[in-house]
């Protein structure tokens, strides 16, 4: 089956322009689309333009992490050496959700002993390591901390891959609601009404829970929420601050996708969610797009190669070109189909590179496509 000739699709997102005044750049998208590499590539480009940049990442591929000097370093900004003696700086932080949480507990607990008890708490261990939203929350917490320090002009946030964009945007608020719930108040003050209904209710409830689960979780729960409850005001303030930060004109969201149906559909969903909110959406970056000239059919390519190569090699090379051309047509058609109405969404097509990116030189090669116009001056 030969694909219909796809309408030409060219990049309309110019990062130099879109990110010129950005203080926060949030990159969102599913897993495996090259989000971390894109964040690092954009960050490096900004550093090459003289800005002090910090990239906050969640789970970089090992080789890239090692090349950037992140090996074994969590939660601490690491500076990536740039050989040129440029004015700008590139820093990278690898987020460790668990240790960010542990830090928060130590900060807010009444005493060191109380902190230690919570850190050993079964409910806490589950919560800090796994519960949906906590990783997103700590990412936002860390972002805030980095901005507060004033050490950087711009912070790029490579968000955790989420099934639902709201998980990330709403994490602080949801967490606050969770901690601040009436149910929790009941749990914390089971005897506040003397021997009233609340006390009895909780007692009955505990018994049932113990019978149902075979586990006495109540003491763990009380201890856990006792400390977290003390942090409630902090969470509430932070939720508001984050909301304000996300709505700032100098905060720009970029979506990152691969030229695959599920990935582009996910980006489209995310876009529709962003649209309903007070958020500055910069555009869509599509990675690893296959490129080939659509006008060149297999026979013509074979003939052209025939002048330079053995006939047999020319034939197979032409067959290979046809395969690439077909994929390029599909990639283009798919991206086009998932874009918002023409002119409404800016897109940046990053071609499939000849070699993988796993060091600064690779990021520079990628940068040539992220920033097609070279560094000014």
């Amino acid at each position: 089956m030969s694909a219909d000739p796809a309408p030409a699709l060219t990049s309309t997102l110019h990062l130099d322009e879109t990110l010129a005044d950005a203080r926060v750049v949030v990159l969102a998208g599913g897993g495996g689309v090259g989000k971390t590499t894109t964040a690092a590539g954009i960050g490096l480009g900004m550093a090459r333009r003289g800005r002090r940049v910090c990239v906050l990442t969640i789970d970089p591929a090992r080789r890239l992490a090692d090349a950037l000097g992140l090996e074994g370093v969590a939660d601490e900004p690491v500076q990536v050496p740039l050989e040129d003696g440029a004015d700008g700086e590139l820093w990278v932080v690898m987020l460790d959700a668990k240790s960010t949480w542990d830090g928060l507990i130590r900060k807010y607990a009444d005493s060191d002993e109380a902190a230690e008890r919570v850190l050993q708490n079964r409910v806490y261990k589950e919560f800090s390591g796994a519960v949906a939203g906590t990783q997103e929350y700590t990412a936002v917490e860390k972002l805030h901390e980095l901005l507060q320090s004033g050490r950087w002009d711009v912070v790029l946030l490579d968000t955790p891959p989420t099934r639902n964009a709201l998980d990330f945007l709403d994490a602080p608020q949801r967490l606050h609601a969770f901690i601040d719930s009436k149910a929790l108040q009941l749990l914390l003050k089971p005897a506040s009404g003397g021997i009233g209904l609340i006390g009895r209710g909780a007692g009955m409830f505990t018994g049932l829970l113990k019978r149902a689960l075979g586990v006495d979780l109540l003491s763990d729960l009380i201890e856990f929420f006792g400390v977290l409850g003390g942090m409630s005001q902090g969470f509430s303030d932070r939720a508001r601050a984050v909301q304000a930060l996300m709505a700032e004109p100098r905060t720009v969201f970029l979506l990152v996708a691969a030229p695959l149906p599920e990935s582009l559909a996910e980006a489209a969903r995310f876009r529709s969610i962003l649209r309903g909110r007070d958020i500055h959406y910069g555009g869509l970056v599509v990675n690893r797009v296959t490129r080939a000239d659509q006008d060149d059919d297999e026979a013509a390519v074979r003939t052209a190669f025939g002048a330079h190569l053995d006939e047999d090699v020319a034939t197979r090379a032409a067959a290979m070109h046809e395969r690439v051309r077909s994929q390029a047509a599909h990639d283009t058609a798919m991206v086009t189909a998932h874009l918002a109405a023409p002119g409404e969404e800016r897109v940046l097509l990053v071609p499939q590179l000849a070699e993988d990116v796993h060091d600064v030189a690779g990021l520079d090669r990628l940068g040539a496509h992220l920033y097609p116009v070279p560094v000014p001056g």
């Binding site: 589950e126 919560f127 149902a212 075979g214 190669f305 067959a319 395969r323 690439v324 390029a328």
Partner: protein
């Protein structure tokens, strides 16, 4: 023992590796072999759409010959699980309690163990008169990390509970998962560095958990039609860098760069494929599914099933 003769197949892998398509194709294949198959997905519902059926929700629903669907919601499964433990009446009383809901969210592994409990029930031979008995339950499981948490949950739970009915049930679940004649995991991967690393790490975790790895599916593979020296000859036609060839030149010049980029990508992927093969136990079959241009649709499931069957399942 043949993969399709197990009772429970858990299909997992990193996001975007084609888990859902592979689970659906395995189900089509098993139904074609005359088995009664239940295809289950967890937290979300996408399979009904793939099969062109209305949403089925938390109910076993026959959708075509020999094949039923269910979408398991962990929180519903947790309610079912608790209802079975405390009785319907008591459950109804505490159902609305927000404290209860809070506990459901915070209790370690409760949703995971409840999901496994549901799967355990679905694989039983003695499900009672009114319920369908399935030869095979295929699960489009959550992404790897979460799937491992699910596999671990009965043991964790059995360890927390000191005795009683829960402990007994958790032990039954654990023995189902560890029984390689009944349960097997199918891992989906892509021929790229990080996905291959993760696949090998998951294989090691499964060994530690004593859970059988029955099949690895390497999705979206591509090959090259050229030998390396031939690709070099093509590449010699490219003026400037491969990633950014100079403009101009004739058709041969313009066509050369994309071919070499594709060739190198195919070679890199072959190296990842070799690394994956070398890292897996020899007895674990590795099936390659070639890259397709478009999305996997219902009409493609038959072809996919053929490709999987070709791998002697």
């Amino acid at each position: 023992m043949a993969l399709m003769d197990r009772r429970l197949l858990l299909v997992t892998g990193k996001g975007g590796t084609g888990k859902t398509s592979v689970a659906a194709a395995l189900a089509v294949l098993a139904a074609r072999q005359g088995k009664r198959v239940l295809l289950a997905e967890i937290a979300g519902e996408r399979l009904s759409e793939l099969f062109g059926h209305r949403p089925v929700g938390h109910h076993e629903t026959p959708i075509q010959n020999g094949l039923s669907l269910i979408a398991i919601e962990p929180i519903d499964a947790a309610h079912d699980f608790l209802r079975s433990q405390v009785g319907a009446a008591v459950h109804r009383v505490i159902f609305q309690n927000r404290l209860f809901t809070l506990t459901m969210t915070a209790a370690p592994g409760l949703r995971e163990v409840s999901t496994v409990d549901r799967l355990w029930d679905l694989t039983r031979r003695d499900r009672g008169r009114r319920k369908t008995v399935y030869d095979l339950v295929i699960v489009d499981a959550p992404a790897t990390g979460h799937a491992l948490a699910m596999l671990r949950s009965p043991a964790t739970y059995g360890g927390l509970a000191r005795g009683g009915p829960i402990k007994k049930r958790a032990d039954e679940m654990a023995s189902l998962l560890e029984d390689r004649t009944r349960t097997s995991v199918v891992l989906c991967a892509l021929p790229e560095e990080t996905p291959v690393n993760e696949t090998l790490e998951t294989a090691a975790s499964l060994r530690d958990l004593h859970v059988d790895l029955g099949l690895v599916v390497l999705n979206r593979t591509r090959g090259t039609l050229l030998a390396d020296d031939e690709a070099d000859a093509v590449g010699a036609l490219v003026p400037g860098a491969l990633d950014d060839p100079d403009d101009g030149g004739g058709l041969a010049v313009r066509s050369a760069a994309p071919i070499v980029v594709e060739h190198r990508r195919a070679r890199r992927e072959e190296r990842q494929q070799e690394r994956l093969r070398a890292g897996l136990d020899d007895r674990v079959p590795l099936v390659l599914l070639p890259r397709r241009d478009g999305e996997v649709l219902r009409k493609d499931l038959g072809d996919l099933a053929d490709e999987l069957a070709g791998a002697a399942l």
